[in-house]
Structures are given as structure tokens and as C-alpha cells.
């Protein structure tokens, strides 16, 4: 097992990783920007090194600074967390060249999955169902029109090099296509430095279903079941849950077996998540793979009982899956996670500043992953996630009731948070009934707007 690990991240995930390390007797090194000097991840690490000014590009994303810190601290491994450098194949390569173990898949695999179009083709060859779409990158507007004709409108244009909603356009007719094609290409070029686009069939009311996998370094892959993440605003997840009410045990087994076969062929290693869209008929189509631990990993941890971050370290130190997971995976009960952001719950403007009150809910079946604290400051330089509130219950009804209870006892003052938004979602009849797709939030906001207008 590693002696010393550097955590190349910040906030709640850095603290999560440090926690796993503490439990495993691994010494931890935190890195931080000047804006994070008083962060909890800095406080609870064994050592901490300031690596740059507040801007991420100059600190957390600054590969030479991160590697230099790893060298002077003499670490065995680097855990990249999620976001930041976690899916940066160049960074993984630099780690390898510097003789520092990168907790994640090999750079070649990260690179393959990072190029969304190549990943699609790879999965297709392995007989994983994918959405009908373009073969490879679209070369021109004419090419785009041809593909769209073949696939059938509506179609969606997507950036090969990125995600998060940028470089994406839904096209419903051939008249719209040329303009949208140009716009998407420019946006992708600006956001990711790469304007390559591919095209997929667009599903009007899809559900977002993703599967968690673990793969050891001896060629063994295991699926740990699915999470449903359909509640999204502008392609950012708000709420995730497991299991999905739409996935039957038979489907779970079949997809699990397919993914095992496919990822073993690709040579996948460590933790990963395979994302699917489910159409209105309940069919799953692969969209992309994330080659890292995800924000919503606690949901899977609570229903399977597997500590995914510890598993990552054990895999990276050479253990086999069969040593880490000694019993068949069972989905027990139901877990739901709410991402609490430092944003106005209606306007969604970011709310940086000092937290004056921070009362966390607790009790049976409640878990809070956060790196914030009373008197802590939310800096304006990074993403707005300040806490993850995760609950577990014997079934979905209990999990929903538990989340409502926990949300009502989560008191934050000094900044705005999206806790009131989550409370409104949990009061919604469709949400409670499990009746939703990725368009849920749009309709939800429409309903709210109509309610306020009609009451005026």
C-alpha cells in the first residue's frame, strides 16, 4: 500500500480522499491555492503545500506546480479526484514519467475515452449499444446534412473534446443545421481548444442512467450497478439516486456483463462510470465514459457497501477485485444525493462569501460530504458545490422522507444555497412518483413560473 499520497484537488473530494487515506494509514499531502489557505482539506492533511495564486489555471491545473509539489513531498502516488486534472491524459503521463503512481486508468485509456467520438466507436465495436450517429468526426456542413438525413431528425451536435453542455446544439430540421453547426464548432473550439463535432440521434425525453465500474490491474472488471441522474439543470446534475426504478435486475445483469466484457477488452483500470441515455421505451444507449471517481459516488457506496475511494487505492497498489469485493454485489435499499451549491435558489447567481451558520443534518441514514464549516469562506474562483447531502433508506419512499427531513435540518446562513430549491423539488408530485426525464427541471421551472404569474 502507498506510504504517501498527494491529493491533486480541493474542497469536498480532497477531504473525501484524505479521509480514506487516514483510515488506511496512508500519509497525505494537500496542495492548495492562496485562496484555499484555510480550507479543511489543508487542515486535515498531514502536510500541505501552497502551489499558486487563486486562479485554477495557475494552481490546481498547473501541472508543473502539482508535480513539483509531489516531488518535494516525496509522494508515491497522486489521486486526482474529479474535475481538474483527473481526466487529463497528459497529466497522467507526466506522473508516469516522474515515477509517481496516478490513481486512475493508464493515460492511453483516458485519452481514448476523452475523445468522445473515438469512445463511441470503441464501444460500438464491443457491441455496447450506442445511439445512432455519425461515424467519427463530422468533416463539413454537407457531411452534417448527410448524416442528419440518415439518422433522422431531431439530432444533436456534440463536441468531441468536451462536455458540460458546451459545443452542443439540438437540430430539428435541415434548415436549422448549417447555422447550428457553425455555432457549435466555434463554441467547442473556444471551450476545449478543439472544434471537432459528432452527431447523435436526439431523444426528446431521455433518462440519464450511469453504471459504476471498478477494474483491477489484472484484467478484471466489475459493475457496481447504476445511478439515475435525470434531475439536471443546464446539463449539470442536481440529484442522483440508486437504484433506478427503470432498471430491472435482468437489465442490470445484462449491462453489467456487457460492460465487463467491453472494458476488459479495452484494458480499463481503476474506477470509472459509463453513462447511458434511456429512451422512452426503456432502451439504453451509451453516450460517454468518465474515467475517474464521480461526484455522486456516495450513492453507490451506500447501496452496495463498497468504499469506492479505498477500492481505488487498493486497485492501484495491485490488489485484485476478488480481494476487494469478496461477495456478489447486492443493491440494498435506496440512496439519494442532493448537490448543495452556493447559489441563489431561484436566480442561480453564485453566492461567494463567509458562512456564518453551518448546521449539518445527521441521524440515521444521513451522510454529508462537505469541506465547508462555520466561519468558512466560499471563494469565488471555483465551482459552487459546497456540500453533498446523501441519504439511505430501506426503499425509495423512506429515502425521500429522510431527505426532506435532512434538508429541513440543514441550516446555512451567510450565503445563499440551493437547499430551498431541493426542498421544492422533493415536494413535487412527479419527482416523488419517480416520473421524470432530463427535461424535468425545465418543466418544473415552467410550472413554478406559471404559479407565480397566476397568483399575481
Amino acid at each position: 500500500m502507498f506510504r504517501k499520497v498527494l491529493i491533486a484537488n480541493r474542497g469536498e473530494i480532497a477531504l473525501r480522499i484524505i479521509s480514506a487515506c487516514k483510515e488506511m494509514g496512508i500519509r497525505t499531502v494537500a496542495i492548495y491555492s492562496e485562496a484555499d489557505r484555510n480550507s479543511l482539506h489543508v487542515r486535515f492533511a498531514d502536510e500541505a503545500i501552497c502551489i499558486g495564486p487563486p486562479r485554477s489555471a495557475d494552481s490546481y491545473l498547473n501541472v508543473p506546480a502539482v508535480i513539483s509539489a509531489a516531488e518535494i513531498a516525496d509522494v508515491d502516488a497522486i489521486h486526482p479526484g474529479y474535475g481538474l486534472l483527473s481526466e487529463n491524459a497528459n497529466f497522467a503521463e507526466v506522473c508516469r514519467a516522474s515515477n509517481i503512481k496516478f490513481i486512475g486508468p493508464p493515460p492511453e485509456v483516458t485519452r481514448l475515452m476523452g475523445e468522445k467520438e473515438k469512445a463511441r466507436m470503441s464501444m460500438k465495436r464491443a457491441k455496447v449499444p450506442i445511439l445512432p450517429g455519425s461515424e467519427g468526426v463530422i468533416q463539413s456542413e454537407e457531411d452534417a446534412l448527410e448524416w442528419a438525413k440518415q439518422i433522422g431528425y431531431p439530432v444533436i451536435l456534440k463536441a468531441s473534446a468536451g462536455g458540460g453542455g458546451r459545443g452542443m446544439r439540438v437540430v430539428r430540421s435541415s434548415e436549422e443545421l448549417p447555422n447550428f453547426f457553425r455555432a457549435a464548432r466555434t463554441e467547442a473550439q473556444n471551450a476545449f481548444g478543439n472544434g471537432d463535432l459528432y452527431m447523435e440521434k436526439f431523444i426528446e425525453r431521455p433518462r440519464h442512467i450511469e453504471f459504476q465500474v471498478l477494474a483491477d490491474e489484472h484484467g478484471n472488471v466489475m459493475s457496481l450497478g447504476e445511478r439515475e441522474c435525470s434531475i439536471q439543470r443546464r446539463h449539470q446534475k442536481l440529484i442522483e439516486e440508486s437504484p433506478s426504478l427503470q432498471v430491472t435486475p435482468k437489465m442490470r445483469e445484462e449491462i453489467g456483463a456487457t460492460l465487463k466484457r467491453c472494458l476488459e477488452t479495452i484494458g480499463y483500470m481503476n474506477a470509472g462510470t459509463v453513462e447511458f441515455l434511456m429512451d422512452e421505451d426503456g432502451k439504453l444507449y451509451f453516450i460517454e465514459m468518465n474515467t475517474r471517481i464521480q461526484v455522486e459516488h456516495p450513492v453507490t457506496e451506500l447501496v452496495t457497501g463498497v468504499d469506492l475511494v479505498k477500492a481505488q487505492f487498493r486497485i492501484a497498489s495491485g490488489e485484485k477485485i476478488s480481494e476487494i469485493i469478496t461477495r456478489p454485489i447486492e443493491m440494498r435499499g435506496h440512496a439519494i444525493e442532493c448537490r448543495i451549491n452556493a447559489e441563489h435558489p431561484e436566480k442561480f447567481t453564485p453566492s461567494a462569501g463567509k458562512i456564518t451558520v453551518f448546521n449539518l443534518p445527521g441521524g440515521n441514514g444521513v451522510r454529508v460530504d462537505t469541506a465547508q464549516y462555520a466561519e468558512g469562506v466560499v471563494p469565488p474562483y471555483y465551482d459552487s458545490l459546497i456540500a453533498k447531502l446523501i441519504v439511505h433508506g430501506t426503499d425509495r419512499a423512506e429515502a425521500v422522507a429522510r431527505m426532506e427531513r435532512a434538508l429541513s435540518m440543514f441550516v446555512v446562513e451567510g450565503i445563499y444555497t440551493t437547499i430551498p430549491l431541493h426542498q421544492r423539488i422533493f415536494a413535487d408530485a412527479d419527482f416523488r412518483a419517480g416520473e421524470f426525464d432530463t427535461k424535468f427541471m425545465e418543466r418544473f421551472f415552467e410550472r413554478e413560473k406559471l404559479r407565480t404569474e397566476s397568483s399575481q
Binding site: V42, A45, A48, I49, G52, A65, S68, I72, D74, S98
Partner: protein, 173 residues
């Protein structure tokens, strides 16, 4: 060195051995001590810095300074809020602090055995190379951002430094 100083030094050595510190540098009132412990690797372990500071404060030779002596642990990068990576050099004299712009290892000269780029008492010009900070096998020359007299060097050669760590105090011209 008088008997009291010697006793303090012996206590200090005992403490450091217990904490399994590998190397230790101390500069206090013109007294400079470098200790290297045989058989220990680079790791410094969980050194209780408050205890260390206490030991140094009660050394008889420290009577002219109320603040903790400048303690530099070459192999421990700055830790949690309780341990600050360098003494707070007061700005009361209007001293300008040259800070490290990168993470790495500080070297006072261009090569082992070579003359240090600058010494206390030297005059420096803006843009003049004052030291090296090595990062990822690259020797980065650090330039002074001000002209003036070198009043203090705050780090030891071979010491790891973080971003923003004070390296030199300069009295501006």
C-alpha cells in the same frame, strides 16, 4: 557557546532524534547550526512544532528575541495552520520580501560548491538573479523584483519551498 547554550542544544538534539528528523538547520543570533542524523531518510515524521518552538524559546541565547527562532525543517513542507512556513518578518522597517513564484527546491547558488548568487549585506538590482528554485529537474533562476540591500535570507539551500514562500528580505533603495 556557553554551558547553557550547550545544554539547550543537547535537549534539542534529543528532541529531534525522538521525532526522527533527518536534517535540521538553526540560525539564531548569529549562531548557525547544521545537524545531520545518520541512518534517517528524508521523511521528517510528525514533528511537534509547538514543542520545538518552546525548546528554542527557552534557550538562554535567545534573550534578545521574543519571537520564535527561525526554524527550518528542510524536509517538511509547510503544514497545517498551526505551523507557519517562515518567520513573520515584520514590514515595520519597510522591508520588501522576495517570494518564491513557484513550488520547488531552493538553492542559493548555481551549483554545489559555487558562490551563492547573493549574500546578506549585498546590493541587488531589479532583475538580478538571486537564487535558483528547482522544479521537475529544471533550474529556474529567480530574479529580484526590486533594488536594494539584502537584509535577510529566510530559507536554507536545499530546502523545499512553496508558492509565495518568503525567500529574501530586501531594504529598498
Amino acid at each position: 557557546m556557553n554551558a547553557g547554550q550547550l545544554q539547550s542544544l543537547k535537549d534539542l538534539i534529543e528532541f529531534l532524534k525522538q521525532q526522527e528528523v533527518g536534517e535540521f538547520d538553526l540560525e539564531q543570533d548569529g549562531l548557525k547550526v547544521h545537524l545531520s542524523f545518520a541512518g534517517h531518510g528524508r521523511s521528517a515524521g510528525n514533528v511537534d512544532l509547538s514543542q520545538l518552538t518552546h525548546l528554542l524559546q527557552h534557550a538562554p541565547s535567545a534573550q534578545t528575541h521574543a519571537a520564535a527562532a527561525p526554524v527550518h525543517l528542510p524536509n517538511v513542507a509547510a503544514g497545517a495552520p498551526a505551523a507557519h512556513h517562515a518567520p513573520a518578518v515584520s514590514d515595520e522597517d519597510g522591508l520588501h520580501i522576495i517570494k518564491s513564484p513557484i513550488v520547488g527546491t531552493f538553492y542559493e547558488a548555481s551549483a554545489p560548491g559555487a558562490e551563492p548568487y547573493i549574500k546578506v549585506g549585498d546590493q541587488v538590482e531589479s532583475g538580478q538573479v538571486v537564487c535558483i528554485v528547482e522544479a521537475m529537474k529544471l533550474m529556474n533562476e529567480i530574479e529580484s523584483d526590486i533594488a536594494g540591500e539584502v537584509v535577510k535570507r529566510m530559507v536554507a539551500s536545499g530546502q523545499p519551498v512553496e508558492y509565495g514562500q518568503p525567500l529574501f528580505a530586501i531594504r529598498p533603495r
